[in-house]
């Protein structure tokens, strides 16, 4: 049954993106060159966006690509280039160890965690009506109607998120901004 599920159209899509996500995830963990690791992370984000699509979360898949893979990763790449880390001396001595750790943790720890956590959990499948309700919930309209509904708890958190971003902006300005009177600062 599970094999059948995987060999269906949706199943193949899941299989493809899952393998891509794990493979790129491992690369993020083992690659020495920060630039390459960052690019692997971009691939990982794209794969996960693909999985979002398979879960009918269209809007979030788009956000994932635009915000995460687009804006955030560009920021990462920008910082890596700014600090000239692309050519950081590549000490490869730990590479083999790190690969082993990455693989074993991914399969071992992750597998163990899921084996323990999912023990006794029934194999939940999608309810028959979920196709209908689910598809509208993932659209921009569906998200907006839930997020901005004052009778649901999300609006309050959403408003506070704006203050979170304000804090982040202040922080970025304070930390990375130009220093005042650097001559009088004590090193």
């Amino acid at each position: 049954m599970t094999l059948q599920a995987l060999l269906s159209g949706q199943g193949l899509m899941f299989l493809f993106f899952a393998v891509a996500a794990i493979a790129s995830g491992i690369l993020v963990v083992i690659l020495q060159n920060p630039l390459r690791a960052a690019l692997s992370l971009v691939i990982n984000l794209f794969s996960v966006a693909g999985l979002y699509l398979s879960l009918n979360a269209y809007f979030l898949a788009t956000v994932q690509v635009i915000v995460y893979a687009g804006a955030i990763m560009v920021l990462f790449l920008f910082v890596i280039m700014l600090l000239n880390m692309g050519q950081a001396n590549l000490n490869t001595s730990y590479r083999g160890v790190r690969t082993i750790i990455a693989f074993s943790s991914a399969i071992g720890f992750g597998g163990l965690m899921s084996a323990v956590a999912l023990k006794g959990q029934p194999n939940v499948m999608l309810p028959a009506d979920a196709m209908v309700t689910g598809s509208s919930a993932g659209s921009v309209e569906g998200i907006g109607k839930v997020l901005y509904n004052p009778n649901l708890p999300w609006l309050f958190a959403f408003e506070w998120t704006s203050f979170l971003l304000l804090v982040a902006v202040i922080g970025a300005v304070v930390l990375a901004g130009k220093r005042q009177q650097p001559s009088e600062d004590k090193a």
Partner: protein, 101 residues
């Protein structure tokens, strides 16, 4: 025929563990940070999968907040890292070793 929920959860846990492995083995702050992004990504995947199989919008809502938080953390985190690299003038690994005892 659809994919069982557990597949998504297992995948998300594997990605999460990969992130943990990265955080614990990496020594360059930026690479540690990227591993953390990997972990957040795994969280989002599980949230959306849970939400989809529960027919509940909450998972996607939570995901939106996680993304906002990730963005905020990135701006502050990279700010801190730029500042420290400026002061230390050292782009090599393992720069965070001044405070001990």
């Amino acid at each position: 025929m659809s994919i069982p929920l557990n597949y998504y959860i297992v995948l998300s846990m594997i990605l999460f563990s990969l992130g943990i492995a990265g955080v614990t083995t990496r020594r360059n702050p930026i690479l540690i940070f990227m591993s953390i992004e990997l972990m957040l990504n795994a969280v989002n995947l599980s949230l959306i999968a849970f939400g989809r199989y529960l027919g509940d919008a909450g998972g996607q809502m939570l995901t939106i907040f996680v993304m906002a938080v990730a963005a905020a953390e990135v701006s502050v985190g990279l700010g801190i890292l730029i500042a420290i690299f400026r002061t230390k003038d050292n782009v090599d690994v393992d720069v965070l070793n001044g405070l001990k005892g």
